[in-house]
Structures are given as structure tokens and as C-alpha cells.
């Protein structure tokens, strides 16, 4: 019984990471935006959910507000970074993550700072039901993003990634498309944050951690840039891979570094032998 509860726990978190990987891939893989602010959108969604549900707002409303909050954050981030590309965009968006983490740590009247927000109400009574709802949401997100990337909008996003000037001279509004991609990507990350807050029932500024950001990038790179199927596979593999380490019986002081070594080996191996990932269509450049 305990083992099945563990599997359900893994299933729930896998779904959450798949949502994060799919949404990151929309900005990173399909649109070519090296966005290191993705974890901030996740954190924003989690904090909006936590703060509002502690005020007694109903769940459906906090869910919608978290998504809208992510969307607004994505659109707002698109403005100051409109002219930035590549490494410069990466640095600016990483700065955004740091700023959000600093706000969460220091705006104590709102976020309780480093103490975090405990006692966030659970979404549903049992984890089985939770798994159902998060799976359903993940499927909807996957179908939505898959439809979007196959539509003429998705084709234009990829054209912008391949050659921005080429897209501009065809009359495409590059800024509007980038804003759209970042907004949709951010709102999905915020939805993942909503599920996270209600599942763990406690959040603190560590939701903005760079470790999680690296995990998301590893998922997208392993699965392959500009591949939704890849995001699903990459998300599940990267999340589940270190789990067996728990059962080998190493002490926890070894399991942590062993996880890190395992990730490093996978990423190095991928970059050497299969730089485009499992299903990737484009190079990371």
C-alpha cells in the first residue's frame, strides 16, 4: 500500500514536470528564446495560489488567477527583453528569476519571507484524485501546446527562431509573436506552480531555485528542442531516473551527489552523442 502511494506521488510530480518542460520548450525550442525566467513563472503561480487560497478564495478562482498571473508576468517580461537575444536574453531573464526570489524573501508582510507559507489547503482529499486532476490538466496542456505549435502561429514561431530578419521582411510582428510565446509558456508554468502549492501545501522562496531551472532545461534538452513528445519523455525520464537511487541503501549524504553526477553524465552523454536530444528537430545554438 505504501509503495502504491509512492507511485502516485511520483505520478503527480511527473505530471508537474511534464507541464513545465512542455511550456519551457514552447519558448526555448519552438521560439528560440533562451529563457531562464521559467522557474520564476512557476514560483509566481505557486505564490499567487498560496497567498490567495490562504485568504479563503475558492480553488477554481486561485487556479484561474495563477494562470492569469503567469500570463501577465510573461507579457511584462517580454517588454524589457524585446531587443535581447541569446546570451543577453538568458542573463536578463535570469535576473528576473533573482528579482522574484528576492521579492518572495523580503516582502515579508505578503509572503512571510524565508518562513514560507505553510498550511495551504489541499486541492482534493486523496492523492488518487489529485493524480486524476493533474493528469487531466497535463493532457489538456499537451494537446493545447501541440495544437498551437502545429498551427500557422507555431510555424511562424519556428520561422522567427530560424531567422528573425527573414520573418520580419515577410511582415510578421516578431515582438507580438515572442510575447505570445512567452505569455502562454509562463501561464502553463504558473499552472504547474498552482498544482505544486496545493500538493506540497507549503511553499517558501526555494520555489525559485536554480536547481529546478536546470532540471527543466535538462528535460527539454534530453527530450529534444521543438518536440512536444520529447518534453513529455524528457520530463518523465529526468524526474524518475534518480528515484531508484533511494532504494540502493546509500546514505542520504551520498544520494544527493549521486543524483547530481547522474544528471551530469546524462547531459554530457547527450551533448556528445545525440546533441539534438531524443526527438529534437533543432540544435541548441
Amino acid at each position: 500500500m505504501a509503495f502504491s502511494a509512492y507511485l502516485i506521488h511520483l505520478g503527480i510530480l511527473s505530471c508537474m514536470y511534464v507541464m513545465l518542460a512542455i511550456s519551457l520548450n514552447l519558448a526555448l525550442g519552438f521560439t528560440g528564446m533562451l529563457n531562464l525566467g521559467h522557474v520564476a513563472f512557476f514560483g509566481i503561480g505557486a505564490y499567487i495560489t498560496a497567498i490567495l487560497s490562504m485568504q479563503g478564495l475558492p480553488l477554481w478562482l486561485t487556479c484561474i488567477l495563477a494562470i492569469i498571473g503567469g500570463l501577465i508576468a510573461g507579457i511584462l517580461l517580454a517588454f524589457p527583453t524585446a531587443r535581447l537575444r541569446g546570451d543577453y536574453l538568458a542573463l536578463a531573464t535570469l535576473g528576473f528569476t533573482f528579482i522574484m526570489a528576492a521579492i518572495a524573501r523580503n516582502w515579508q508582510s505578503l509572503t512571510r519571507g524565508a518562513l514560507g507559507i505553510p498550511g495551504i489547503p489541499r486541492l482534493v482529499a486523496s492523492n488518487e484524485q489529485y493524480l486524476f486532476w493533474i493528469s487531466l490538466s497535463t493532457v489538456i496542456v499537451a494537446l493545447l501546446v501541440s495544437w498551437l505549435t502545429k498551427s500557422s502561429i507555431g510555424r511562424t514561431l519556428q520561422a522567427i527562431r530560424d531567422d528573425e530578419l527573414g520573418a520580419m521582411v515577410l511582415g510578421k510582428n516578431v515582438f507580438a509573436y515572442r510575447m505570445l510565446a512567452l505569455g502562454v509558456s509562463a501561464s502553463i508554468a504558473a499552472l504547474a506552480g498552482f498544482f505544486f502549492a496545493h500538493f506540497i501545501t507549503f511553499i517558501d522562496p526555494s520555489v525559485f531555485s536554480i536547481d529546478d531551472l536546470i532540471l527543466m532545461f535538462a528535460m527539454v534538452i534530453l527530450g529534444g528542442l521543438a518536440s512536444n513528445k520529447g518534453s513529455v519523455i524528457g520530463g518523465v525520464i529526468i524526474f524518475l531516473l534518480p528515484e531508484p537511487l533511494r532504494f540502493i541503501g546509500f546514505s542520504s549524504s551520498i544520494v544527493g551527489p549521486a543524483r547530481a553526477i547522474l544528471f551530469a553524465l546524462i547531459l554530457i552523454g547527450m551533448l556528445v552523442y545525440r546533441p539534438r536530444g531524443i526527438f529534437g528537430k533543432v540544435d541548441l545554438s
Binding site: R155, D162, D163, G166, A167, V169, L170, G171
Partner: protein, 236 residues
């Protein structure tokens, strides 16, 4: 009134002024070529017409409409297309998708298919490649695809930025011949070329740019004028 007319245009990138009082015109059916040494501002002329750089002062009119008051997609609808330097095809899309991207202002699928057919008449070498990814094409084929993508907009005026850049001599000749053919079917051309000798053969009129100004203007005999040597090689 000319088809395209630039009057005393000053343009550049932010604080960096590149064009200084440039005036030129393109009449219907003409091939006009811009030549000049590196850094003279040839590309900036095309970009200023297509609203890709800041225009500080002067007048740019296309079919008697003020270009400065329009958006890029309005210009395309009016019948102007630009093929930028360095080919700029969408590598991860197929050749067909690249061509379709060119016609996105047209909603009618029949028209799109018609234009693909007529583009393939101009560039028959693209036909067997329609399902291939654009990154897999050779340099010459990519140039043809970039030009084909612009033709999908059914332009009345085609702006070409160094179409022969980086091509083998034989391919360069092919590309220039195609430009001639496109022009013969009624599209006016304003072209920037490094390869002055080849380009001048095609041209009805030539403008020579130097330091952001029009230094010379004339017909095919322009290369034999002695000022040309000064412009290209310096020393006066």
C-alpha cells in the same frame, strides 16, 4: 511621379547616421542597381525603404504613398517585397512551408497554391525539393528559395540585397538571369550588388553610393567613368 522615390533621406541605426540626403527613384519596369564600396550604405537604403532602420528625415514614397506612415505588412500588401542579405530561409521548415510563409497575407488557399505554381515556374529546381528542409539546400538553392518566398507576395517591386553573395560564379550567373526574367514579367527591381560588373549588365540605371551619399548616377557606361576608380580605390 515615380514608382518608388527617396528624397533627401537621412537614416541610420539609433545615433549612428548612415545615409545622408540620399535621393533616388525607381520607375515601373526598371532594374535599378545600387553599387558602392563596403560601408557606403547600400543595404541601409533598402532597409530604410522597408522600415527596418530609423529614418530621421526626408521622404520615401511608394506608389505615391508615404512609406514612413505605413507598417511593413502594409508595404507588402501594396506590392513591395524584400529579399534580405544572406538568404534568411527558415531552415527547420520545408521548402513548401517556406514558400507558404511568404504568402501569409493571403488567406485564400487557391491563390496560395497558384502562386506556388507560378513561383516554381521561375525556380523549377525547387520543385523536387518541396518536402526537403530548407537547411539541406545548397547556397544557390537557398537564394532561389528566398527569392521565391518573396515572389509568393506577388510583388510589383522587388528589393534584393546582394543576391549573388557567397555563390559560385556559375550559380551567380543563374541567379542574375532569373532576376532579369522576373523583371521581364513586369516586376520592378531595386538591387544592391557587390559584384558591380555583373550587376551593371542587368541594370537600366545605376546609383553609386559613397559614404552614405549618392556619388554618381547613370546608365550602363557608368563603370567606365573615371570617378568610379576614386570611389572604389580612394585617392583623388
Amino acid at each position: 511621379m515615380s514608382f518608388l522615390e527617396l528624397k533627401n533621406v537621412c537614416a541610420g541605426y539609433g545615433a549612428l547616421k548612415v545615409l545622408n540626403n540620399v535621393s533616388l527613384r525607381v520607375d515601373p519596369g526598371e532594374i535599378v542597381v545600387l553599387i558602392g564600396p563596403n560601408g557606403a550604405g547600400k543595404t541601409t537604403v533598402l532597409k530604410s525603404v522597408f522600415k527596418l532602420v530609423d529614418v530621421y528625415s526626408g521622404k520615401i514614397c511608394f506608389q505615391e504613398k508615404d512609406v514612413r506612415a505605413l507598417h511593413t505588412h502594409d508595404l507588402i500588401q501594396l506590392g513591395m517585397s524584400l529579399v534580405p542579405q544572406g538568404r534568411q530561409v527558415f531552415g527547420s521548415l520545408t521548402v513548401r512551408e517556406n514558400l507558404e510563409m511568404g504568402a501569409y497575407l493571403t488567406q485564400d488557399n487557391d491563390v496560395v497554391q497558384e502562386r506556388i505554381a507560378s513561383t516554381l515556374l521561375q525556380f523549377p529546381e525547387l520543385k523536387p525539393k518541396m518536402k526537403d528542409y530548407a537547411f539541406a539546400l545548397s547556397g544557390g538553392q537557398q537564394q532561389m528559395l528566398a527569392m521565391g518566398r518573396a515572389l509568393m507576395q506577388d510583388p510589383k517591386l522587388l528589393l534584393l540585397d546582394e543576391p549573388s553573395l557567397g555563390l559560385a560564379p556559375k550559380m551567380m550567373q543563374t541567379v542574375l538571369n532569373r532576376i532579369k526574367k522576373i523583371n521581364e514579367q513586369g516586376t520592378s527591381v531595386l538591387m544592391v550588388e557587390q559584384n558591380a560588373r555583373q550587376a551593371v549588365k542587368l541594370a537600366d540605371r545605376i546609383y553609386v553610393l559613397e559614404d552614405g551619399k549618392v556619388a554618381l548616377h547613370g546608365g550602363k557606361d557608368i563603370l567606365s567613368r573615371k570617378e568610379i576608380q576614386h570611389i572604389y580605390l580612394g585617392g583623388r
